[in-house]
Amino acid sequence: ACGASSDPAPADAASSAAPVQASPAPAGAAQQAADPHLPAGTCKGKKVGLSNISTTIPFLASMDDAFKQEAERLGMKATILNGNLDNSTLVSNTQNLIAQKVDLLLVTSSSPTAPLGAIGQARSAKIPVIALNAKLDPKADVVTYVGASDYQYGQSLGALLKQALPGGGKIAVILGPLGGTPQVQRLKGMQDALKDSPDYTIVAKPVDEFDNSKNLSATQDLMSKYPKGSLDAVVAQGPQMYVGANWAKDHGRTDVKFIAGDYSKQVEDAIRTGALYGTVNQSPRLEGLLGAAYACMQLSGRGADIPAPDAQIALPTITKDDVDANPSEWSG
Amino acid sequence: MPTVRLKTRGLTKQFGSAVVLKGVDFDVREGEIHGLIGQNGAGKSTLVKTLAGLYPDHGGTVEVDGQRVGLRTPRQSRAEGIAVIYQEFSLVPSMTVAENLLLGREKHAVRYSSPATRQEAARLLESVQIDIGASLDTPVAELSPAVMQRIEIAKALAQDASVLVMDEPTARLSEEERGWLFSTMRRLSDSGVGIMFISHFLEEVRGVTDHLTVLRNGAVVGEGSTSAFSVARMAELMLGEGLKSALESESHISRAGPANPVVLSAQHVVGGERLGPVSLELRAREIVGVAGLVGSGRTRLARVLTGADRPTGGHIAVEGQTVTFRSPRQAIASGVVLVPEDRKHQGLSLVAPVADNLSLMSLQQRRGRAGFVGRRYVRSLAQSLVTDLQVAPPRIDLPASALSGGNQQKVLLGKAIAARPQVLVIDQPTAGVDVGTKAQIHGLLHAMADDGVALMVVSDDIDELYALSDRLCVMRKGRIVWQGTPGQVGREELLAMMSAATDDATDEEACG
């Protein structure tokens, strides 16, 4: 699910705890999604619609952009609607796309159940549906889900943390918008990843609501509450961590390791300078590209080749070691 | 021959399709006090506002001191030498007296200083010789209407204008203050200022003005030297032949008598530091008039009797039953109703239609319908009141703000009448009402008294008190210092008692 979203993405606790992937595009795993490299113009004249919970959050904006590019390359006309971070608007938009008689519908919802009714309407109108970036309730009749799992995302954060602090330590977690799926599931995944190692204690959980300025305040508050030596790491759930990490670095708090979520250009720079230890890279561009590619496969009679029920993208971690090999694709 | 200070030719103004001024020609000469009279809604205030620069879309021309002027904003009109006292207050309630006095005329283009403003205001009051009666640092919101009126006057007098336009400046002034105002006007006119004076007190107009113009339905129907008009002639011109007869029934026979049962009695009632102890009885079929200077506690008394203010001592009984009104709502439930003095802030919802204003008080009594109020009930009630009170225009769906002042006053009264009171306490019943309407309202109040209602009327207008009262009370410094029938006391004697530099020691007495 999207890291920058100020609103929830779907619950996904049930999804299997796949191993954390270290490389960007691994092949082989049954559910692993990879670019099928369809030839240009494969789906000439088809219409696809993406009902997105937000089109303006940087993460989702880059996903939309990649989706649109790939759709156009394949000859499809793509319509993207903005849900303005509101479930009801998302449902309306989905209905609008059905009324526009698109050939295939993609839905990026912040609630796993909100669009169920609208998806039912699409199915009655014989329109196939793909869930993109945010997994839906199992009751949803969809071709597949393209995206990552927030629970796994949390586990990746946990793994990164273990890598940064092999001996354990005191940790603060900066949470995204309260109650949102990224906040709940990433926290759960991370806690589960640390469960078997009693050396890690979470001592504080302030909130930044995925807002740059608030991340700074939260970090400052942590640094003054925990003087040198009393805190070992700060893990944020979103890419805003670069702001706080840069501040801490400027103020000599190199004793604390900072870990961000998502891999924007700002995060990349902060990893380079050493302000950030690392991050989890959920690629919005890959999600967008796959969304368009699988839509086209479905529409050109190759539906059987689409990984289902989940086409999960990998969630590689990025640290100073691999930052050069994997430049960021978007600005946060 | 004196120069013409202000000259209008063919002045017209319309609101939508309603033509309110129909080609008014009007001259004010140097050193002249020029009276302008007319019925409520005749267009006097509209003329004033046009001169003030509020209606840039008017027709016709205006000259000041022989120069043709365009009047597009109040700022411009003021710069052309026209100073205006508006009928409604133009004060900012959240600002102090000093700030209001100088608003719009601050000395420096950029800089502003509170202490300097205060000094300047004090100097200004000194020069126009007005005692405001309140500290310069008091926020205007805390002042009584009479004080606000004095501020308005001071504000206009301070302007060094060629023409001073006064829209009913005496409506809220006491007898004494009027005398003071008239001498100030005379002084100004002697120094060459042209004054346009609007009032509904025809005697006063006759006494103070040199020249007179009568407006009816937006057109000039009479004009000439004041000495050429009798009060009767003035009324006739204002109202038209037919309505003049309404004025003639003004004298009345006193209904006062011990046979009338006491409806409301107040014993040793105290209302904070500014009122009491006061004892007073209001009887059915009687009108008690209350005279007093501004600040003598009349309003406080009216409010305490009707549940608007809590008494801090004493007892009030209605029909022999002791009552403690915690709110006007409870008073109204006992049939005790107040008509407050400040129409705009305490009386009406100006954004609401006339019908809703008229029906508001009566809703309380419409029980037993599960709280439902039919449209038909509201409309027929309002329609009949509008007809009875001759509200003009007789449209119940207009917002109250679209009515002229006198007509708003009628709506205020109608609202109380609709509550079918046993006791009706009216604070200034005819402020800003024309002679015809005033006679109508007086007739109405007499009729209510004849129907068995007990009335108490507070008024600054002594003539009105004589015309209405079956009994009179005089208040001074929060106490009733005299009571009796109007026949027992002459005008001069009454005025003397109100101000009474002499015997402060007079004991409080029961009135009625």
Partner: protein
């Protein structure tokens, strides 16, 4: 065709309806998918929940206040209903959610009418308090719930008419009846128009204010129930934009922020107008990036048109005349600028 005077009066009353008709006509002419019956049904369905929130907001705004906590209240109601629904019959679920809305509304009313805290601060703080309690009690987790009755109310259509729209219209009707046909409704206008005069006229000002906010909470609770029906999940973070959206609908519908003025029927027009614009832009495939701009411009144009229409109606209406009071900035305009 109506006679001249009738038409004039129609014009006067129905400025916003005219704008709505115009927008619908243009969109229907330009976009074939817009004019599909299915799409029109969608529009009705899509705007009903926020419309119900606006129903309560009208009453609060006419009384002279407004409520920034409707979102928090709606969400609380929906989470509570989601939790209760697993253990109790549906009537209890609905009752509990509505009671919660009513209760929070009453607390708001108490703070505003009795403690005399300004409505902005009181409801802003209340929204914060309520969301916090909600996070605490749920651990910030969403509560899935599949309440059939609610799902039907939110999603079903009878003869093509969305049930939720029928509910909205019923709510609006009840608000209309309340405001125009009951004693307390009259009181709401009068308190909003001039609370001191109302007090002196025997209106129980405090009780009226409390009632207005209680109703506001009740409608927000009801909207929360329908949201649960629509999304099958009680989500503590949803509905954050309800307050501003509902206020915007009311203001576009001519309800004065200063109280005393506003008509329920115009709020229906405003709800539909904003809904039609949003839908139409999507149907016309306007880029989502352009949509906010177009929406903003259409709102501005609608308000200006409505105002122009109000000022140029043929009756000697309000007193735009005098440079208006603060309370009527809109009408006010007339005076000084009209020439």
């Amino acid at each position: 065709m109506p006679a001249a005077p009738a038409r004039a009066s129609l014009l006067r009353r129905g400025g916003l309806w005219l704008v709505l008709a115009l927008v619908v006509a243009v969109l229907a002419a330009v976009s074939p998918t817009f004019r599909q019956p299915l799409n029109l049904q969608n529009i009705l369905e899509q705007n009903s929940i926020i419309g119900i929130v606006a129903c309560g907001m009208i009453v609060m705004m006419v009384s002279g206040g407004f409520d920034l906590s409707v979102g928090a209240v709606g969400v609380s109601a929906s989470v509570l209903a989601a939790v209760v629904s697993g253990r109790a019959p549906v009537a209890v679920t609905i009752g509990a959610a509505l009671a919660l809305g009513l209760g929070i509304g009453l607390v708001n009313g108490f703070l505003i009418a009795r403690v005399r805290i300004n409505a902005f601060v009181a409801t802003f703080a209340m929204a914060s308090v309520v969301s916090g309690l909600l996070f605490v009690s749920t651990g910030a987790e969403s509560k899935p719930a599949d309440v059939r009755l609610l799902a039907q109310a939110a999603g079903d259509r009878v003869l093509g008419i969305p049930v939720v729209f029928v509910i909205f219209v019923l709510c609006l009707l009840s608000v209309w009846v309340f405001l125009t046909r009951t004693r307390y409704g009259h009181y709401v206008y009068s308190v909003g128009g001039n609370d001191e005069a109302s007090h002196l006229s025997g209106v129980p000002v405090e009780r009226v204010r409390m009632l207005a906010f209680a109703l506001g909470g009740l409608f927000a609770g009801g909207a929360g129930l329908l949201l649960l029906g629509q999304t099958a999940v009680g989500q503590p973070t949803a509905a954050s934009n309800w307050p501003l959206q509902a206020i915007a609908i009311c203001v576009v519908g001519g309800v004065a922020l200063t109280g005393g003025v506003g008509r329920a029927e115009d709020v229906l027009a405003a709800t539909l107008l904003l809904g039609v614009i949003a839908n139409g832009l999507n149907q016309l495939n306007v880029s989502p990036y352009w949509q906010p701009t177009v929406t903003g411009l259409v709102i501005l144009v609608a308000v200006v048109l409505e105002q122009y229409n109000r000022l140029h109606r043929p009756s000697p209406r309000p007193a735009p005349v005098a440079p208006q009071t603060v309370s009527q900035p809109v009408t006010a305009s007339a005076a000084r600028t009209a020439d």
